[in-house]
């Protein structure tokens, strides 16, 4: 479903962030990408979303080359991928309900479907009572759950979580990871970029280890080893 083929990313003048990275992610997989800060995890996510172009190599999503996609095709691709960011990336002037509904509105879904799905997702993430609050009025854990709710509401084929537990306490981290596991059990591809050892070890899923921009390990049922 997702394929990185000999991808290298060099930032000027000569900072190599990814060095000849190749891997594939298949339908239904839960993949953790681990590495120290600056190992290139976030760059991988940005490359897949077409937010940046690799210096060399190719990236495929559903067998189509991301690099060959036009501006509007990239927007369609981004609609198929739910992304959870460490800094939440919420819309500050929209309520909790509107933040989640926005991604469905973007897709052109009907109002009745939006109302039904958003309420369902807010209930699952425990945010229904906060539906009319603005992001500024939420705690860190609630903001992260809102980011999860927004990422999953469109039932995307792929969910990418970039350090989703970085700002959370153990309890909230567990909540977020449980949600991701549920989504994976429902058939979604999950790509989790993290440096949280405990979470990776508890998951017992595939682990790709990045170090200095290179893949040094790719284990089917891996553990956090750095």
């Amino acid at each position: 479903m997702i394929k990185f083929s000999h991808v290298t990313k060099v930032y000027p003048p000569n900072t190599v962030v990814l060095d000849d990275v190749s891997f594939e992610v298949n339908v239904g997989e839960f993949v953790s990408i681990i590495g120290k800060s600056g190992a290139g995890k976030t760059t991988l996510v940005r490359l897949l979303l077409g937010l940046e172009k690799p210096t060399s190599g190719e990236i495929f999503f559903e067998e189509a080359n991301v690099l060959h996609k036009h501006h509007h095709q990239l927007q369609e691709l981004r609609q198929k991928i739910g992304v959870i960011y460490q800094d939440y990336r919420l819309l500050p002037n929209k309520t909790v309900y509107e933040n989640v509904a926005y991604v469905m509105l973007v897709k052109g879904e009907k109002e009745s479907k939006i109302e039904e799905e958003v309420n369902k997702v807010l209930e699952i993430t425990g945010l229904l009572e906060k539906a009319n609050n603005f992001p500024d009025e939420l705690s860190g854990g609630e903001k992260q759950r809102l980011a999860v709710a927004r990422a999953v509401v469109n039932q995307p084929d792929v969910i990418i979580a970039d350090e989703p537990t970085g700002n959370l306490d153990p309890y909230n981290s567990y909540e977020v990871v449980s949600l991701l596991k549920k989504m994976n059990e429902a058939g979604n591809v999950i790509i989790l970029a993290t440096h949280d050892k405990e979470i990776v070890n508890k998951l017992g899923k595939r682990v790709i280890t990045l170090e200095d921009g290179k893949i040094i390990r790719d284990d089917k049922e891996g553990r956090f080893m750095l």
Binding site: Q75, E76, L77, Q79, K80, R89, L91, N93, E98, K107
Partner: protein
């Protein structure tokens, strides 16, 4: 498509009502160029009227020799009418008519009547008063009269004395028009810069929001649309405020400044050009608001 348009309108209205302080600043700033444009329009109306009035008072008078027959003078009159399409009128004033005019003008001044009686004869000359549409034509007319085929019939042409005044008025006319144009362009540029800066401040606070919208797959128009509609709403609000202000000011000040421009009422000029005023104010408000939002939102869409 229609659904998306409705959603864009809804987003715009919601965001507009939630960002009151930013929008208030934008409305205030948009009001300035609208008021400037309106003032410039009224100023142009006043200057056009003054120029028209001054031009109307200008003429060239050709005085004929004492013994020239009336038929010869009328022949000159016909020739003058054919000389240029810009000659507005040629009026023949006979000797008797000139004296009657003089007496009527000085009927309350016995010194003039006594002086006239002492002379004993009609000292006035027959004349032609020539009025043209364009001050530049006076020189041509004067040249025709002084150096043309009828020069020997003419005693004097009252142009050289008026020449300086005519040229001065012509120069003022050209300068006022040039000054108005330059001032208009400068004001327009200042207005654009001020509006862009204020709306930039307003949209700057939404920079991260725009980036996030792109990240979740919103199309450029879905993101840009609400900002443009908000710009239009601000522009429309500024237009309404300016219209009320300008109507109030014009009707309040019109009687007080009427003495500066006798025969010209600003209130009347304003009401007779109401449609143009409305278009200027609406165009400046809505146009600038929408354009500034479009340009600025576009600059943040490069993700």
């Amino acid at each position: 498509m229609m659904n998306n348009f409705k959603r864009v309108l809804k987003f715009a209205w919601t965001d507009f009502s939630r960002n009151r302080s930013n929008n208030f600043a934008a409305i205030f700033v948009l009001a300035l160029p609208i008021l400037l444009a309106t003032s410039l329009f009224v100023f142009q109306g006043i200057s056009e009227y003054i120029i028209y009035e001054v031009k109307g008072k200008m003429d060239v008078t050709a005085f004929f020799q004492q013994d020239v027959a009336e038929s010869d003078i009328l022949r000159v009159k016909d020739e003058l009418i054919d000389l240029s399409p810009e000659i507005k009128s040629v009026t023949y004033v006979s000797k008797d008519q000139a004296m009657e005019n003089f007496i009527a003008r000085h009927q309350n001044d016995p010194d003039f009547s006594e002086a006239l009686e002492e002379v004993g004869v009609n000292p006035f000359l027959s004349s032609l008063d020539i009025v043209t549409d364009d001050p530049l034509q006076y020189e041509k007319v004067a040249f025709f009269l002084e150096a043309g085929p009828y020069a020997q019939l003419i005693d004097k042409v009252d142009y050289s004395q008026k020449k300086d005044t005519i040229e001065k008025v012509f120069s003022i006319t050209a300068n006022v028009n040039r000054f108005g144009l330059v001032l208009g362009i400068i004001l327009f540029l200042i207005a654009i810069l001020v509006v862009l800066n204020t709306i930039k401040l307003s949209i700057d606070s939404s920079k991260d929001e725009i980036t996030t919208m792109k990240l979740v797959g919103a199309s450029d128009w879905f993101i840009r649309g609400p900002f443009i509609v908000q710009g239009i709403i601000c522009g429309f609000a500024a237009f309404l405020i300016c219209f009320v202000i300008s109507v109030s000011l014009i009707f309040l000040l019109s009687p007080n400044i009427a003495f500066l421009t006798p025969g010209f009422t600003i209130a009347h000029y304003f009401t007779s050009h109401l449609l143009i005023v409305l278009l200027i104010q609406l165009g400046f408000g809505v146009g600038l608001g929408a354009l500034a939002s479009f340009i600025l939102a576009r600059s943040y869409l490069k993700v």
